[in-house]
Amino acid sequence: MEIKVLGPGCANCHKMEELVTTAVKELGIDAMVEKISDMQEIMRYTLSTPGLMVNGKLKHSGKPLPSLEKVKELIQAEA
């Protein structure tokens, strides 16, 4: 599974990354979490950061941040 966190590096983006890493760990799934901070790349998918991509699909973007449970749900939906 391929997971991408989209964000130029603001506080919310870091929080999102933490959430995703924790979710992956707790779910015990085999996934590659990649942080995308290149603006050109981010803008191909969304205008509102932070964004979450799972297997090439945009699952969340912007504020408010999803809860840990919600992140798990979003990831599992693609598993």
């Binding site: 590096g9 603001c10 205008l47 509102s48 950061t49 912007g62």
Partner: protein
Amino acid sequence: MLKDIASYMTYDLAKLDHGSRLADALNFFIYDTIKIFLLLAVIIFIVSVIRSYFPPEKTKRILSHKKECIGNILAAMLGIVTPFCSCSAVPLFIGFVEAGVPLGVTFSFLISSPMVNEVAVVLLWGMFGWKIAAIYLGTGLLVAMVGGFVIGKLKLEKWVEEYVYKFHSGQSREIMKQAFKERLAYAKWNTADILKRVWLFVVLAIGIGGFIHGYVPQDFLTHYAGNGNPFAVPVAVALGIPLYSNAAGVIPIVYALMEKGLSTGTVLAFMMAVTALSLPEMIILRKVLKLPLLAVFVGIMAVTITAVGYLFNAIL
């Protein structure tokens, strides 16, 4: 109704004597807290539902290739409802420019979005009455329209970083369709999220109103920064620009200043300067704007906000 609850809690639950200073303060505190949180919850919820219809992608589409003037007016108003946090400023700015939104119109949006929002308006309404809230809303929009319009007229496109114009994100992103039920769920979630972030500031502000009230001489600050001092407004604006806070965070300070005799125009100008302009935001915007444009932006904002402050000190 609310008054009864507050009285019950003060005199029956806490068993305080009628008429004592502490009892009055507590009564006022409980009443205001309930009233303001009810207002906040209801209004944020309604605005969140409206907001779900205006994701940045849609706002961008509405504003693209709009004429100046009408574009500035629309952008300032869309700034109220389009969700946007300062870390999204860069992708948003590039996205707007790429979609052919005029520079000045983009600025109207960037100015209005952090400054004029439902939290600011509700808090002003709850603490100072609807008139002050309406004034803030109206002049905030005016500042965003005028500020953006002037920047547009100055033709400063050359001071936008070149790479912004070379951007081609390619395919246009589709806007996710949502059922009304999903919008309500989003609104509930967003309301809870905002309340979680602002409640402490709100309680603090009401606390200042309830407890410090009467303990510091009323005219303590009036002496230095009241209506009689012609420099009060520019000083308040100059202090507010580098300070960073969202609308909720600045409210306790606003309350204290107002309480201690600063005139309304001066305080509203201070609040606008704090919310609309900040050092962190400048650093983020520096990624897309060259220094001269950033300086012009800050300058125009300072002048417009100061003018608004003077205007209200003159009429109120």
